[in-house]
């Protein structure tokens, strides 16, 4: 119903425009000329547009012509897992030192333990050099710390040269280096479980 009504309205409008134009024509040309004249006088360019106006003394640089694909952008950002991988990955070659509990790299010495031993080694080295000097070395060197009287019989020391350190023996420096380590069974009378399951 409404559609039909709108159609009729449209038809009337069309007819009106058609007939008005045909019978009365366009508005008089004088009027148009006046109008045109007025507008032209306002916006007419005096000079032709040129690229130089825009740049001036500057110069143009090369710019990307095409958009980079997402794959390329991601590869730049994160690297490639097969070649250079830029993401942070967990380091799995780290171990805990059984002696001191510090972390160290697999296949290398523990930094904490090594520093300790290095210092002690340096002290002993200096002491040996100081004691023996440039004399020809023809005997094994034995290190004795303070309050460590040679326990063995004098025959044991015959073939050896004793270098005494003027300090206490560090607790971690085991005395019997030449013997196989692992502690002796302790004397503690711990409660041995009798019946186990």
């Amino acid at each position: 119903m409404m559609n039909r009504l709108w159609k009729i309205v449209d038809l009337v409008k069309h007819m009106e425009r058609h007939f008005m134009n045909n019978f009365f024509g366009h508005p008089p040309k004088e009027l148009a000329a006046i109008y045109v004249h007025q507008t032209y006088s306002k916006t007419a360019p005096t000079k032709k547009y040129s690229l130089k106006d825009l740049i001036g003394d500057g110069y143009l640089m090369a710019v990307p012509k095409f958009r980079r694909t997402v794959e390329k952008r991601w590869k730049r950002k994160f690297g490639s897992p097969d070649y250079v991988w830029k993401m942070i990955v967990p380091n799995k070659n780290i171990k805990v030192c059984q002696e001191c509990g510090h972390h160290h790299e697999l296949g290398r010495l523990c930094e904490n333990c090594y520093k300790r031993i290095e210092n002690e080694t340096k002290l002993i080295k200096d002491k040996i050099v100081e004691k023996l000097g440039n004399s020809p070395i023809d005997k094994e060197v034995v290190i004795l710390y303070e309050n460590e009287a040679p326990e063995q019989k004098s025959e044991f020391w015959n073939g050896k040269r004793i270098v005494e350190m003027k300090k206490e023996r560090p607790s971690w420096f085991s005395k019997n280096l030449l013997q196989k380590s692992t502690q002796e069974p302790s004397d503690s009378k711990d409660v041995k479980p009798i019946d186990l399951a």
Partner: protein, 343 residues
């Protein structure tokens, strides 16, 4: 599930006053496991609530990275909690705690008084007790794995496991499979058992300890006639019964045990042997499950491990020798009710 276990629990406590449950003897293996697990949880909760006011104790820690004093909760904090104050390495590798230099303590057993604490891992200078705890735990886990591995149609009645004897080459669990008369496992079946074992260990379950009274222990093992028969003798000797739990498997053991099942590395269930009982006892036959395992982080050549596995295939017979005498006695005391003849 929750509701059903709750119901079971309710029914138990209703019947507790009148008479022991006779129907629960016919529980399926899975139901029995759930029920036991539920009772364990309840009892643990009860014991925890019984502590009441929290008191503090001082724990003197000795070892790497440095000696220090920790203030912990009495009856709640465990050596495991102490280890968590240090590093992940301490938590993961510590198998056993040593209190006051003399008492070997489970990692998940609450501390009750001021003490000095050392955490023992598998590479300490004197690892004998740690090794024993490890071997014992392996036996315990073998029971757990066997009770899971079989189909529902095959009832599994765990009997017992002897004390750890590492030099024998294998850990043991004696299990009764009443529906299997003459079972000789194929290699494939052994592989499956081993796979189950590995799967169970990889779950990384903590081994919880709980001491319960005789009555409750009997309640828990009402489906298992062997365990039920063993409980009075254990209770008369130690006062109460010590239970361990890993996942939902609960078993009787004297302990101590290691901290976590993830500490069991390479492992194989090597063989199953048949043991026959004496004619006048109520135990007709048992199957002896044997296996061999090593802690994680132990690097052992596969050839060397294959030697160990081959050795674990031989049946372990307990010969009266000076070393294994103690174990033997305990073994027999466990078997008193079964009177198994071991050839």
């Amino acid at each position: 599930m929750k509701r059903s276990t709750g119901l079971i629990h309710k029914s138990i406590f209703c019947n507790n006053h009148s008479k022991p449950l006779s129907s629960s003897r016919f529980l399926s293996t899975q139901e029995a496991v759930e029920r036991r697990n539920h009772l364990f949880t309840l009892e643990k909760k009860r014991q925890h609530e019984k502590i009441g006011r929290i008191e503090k104790i001082e724990v003197n820690y000795k070892g790497v990275p440095k000696n220090c004093t920790l203030v912990m909760n009495k009856g709640i904090s465990t050596p495991y909690d102490c280890a968590r104050h240090f590093t992940e390495w301490h938590v993961e590798t510590s198998a056993l705690a040593l209190l006051d230099g003399s008492v070997y303590w489970d990692m998940h057993r609450p501390l009750n008084e001021n003490c000095t604490l050392e955490l023992l891992n598998y590479t300490v200078n004197e690892p004998q007790q740690v090794n024993k705890a490890f071997w014992r735990t392996c036996s315990f886990l073998l029971g757990a794995c066997a009770s899971v591995a079989f189909k529902d149609t095959v009832p599994v009645k765990l009997h017992s496991f002897p004390g750890p004897d590492i030099r024998s080459g294998s850990f043991i669990y004696d299990i009764d499979l009443p529906s299997l008369e003459d079972w000789k496992p194929t290699q494939q079946e052994l592989y499956t058992l081993s796979a189950e074992y590995v799967k169970f260990c990889r779950r990384g379950l903590p081994l919880e300890r709980l001491e319960v009274g005789e009555e409750l222990a009997k309640e828990m093992f009402v489906d298992n006639p062997y365990k039920e028969a063993q409980i009075p003798s254990i209770a008369s000797r130690h006062g109460n019964v010590t239970l361990y739990r890993a996942g939902d498997h609960v078993d009787i053991s004297k302990g101590p045990m290691i901290s976590n099942t993830a500490q069991v590395g390479k492992c194989t269930v090597a063989s199953v042997h048949k043991l026959s009982g004496s004619p006048n006892s109520n135990v007709k036959q048992l199957y002896r499950f044997q296996g061999v395992a090593l802690p994680t982080n132990v690097m052992l050549n596969h050839f060397a491990f294959s030697i160990l596995v081959d050795r674990a295939k031989k049946r372990v017979s307990f010969i009266m020798s000076n070393k294994s005498y103690q174990i033997f006695i305990y073994f027999f005391s466990f078997h008193r009710y079964g009177t198994i003849i071991i050839s």
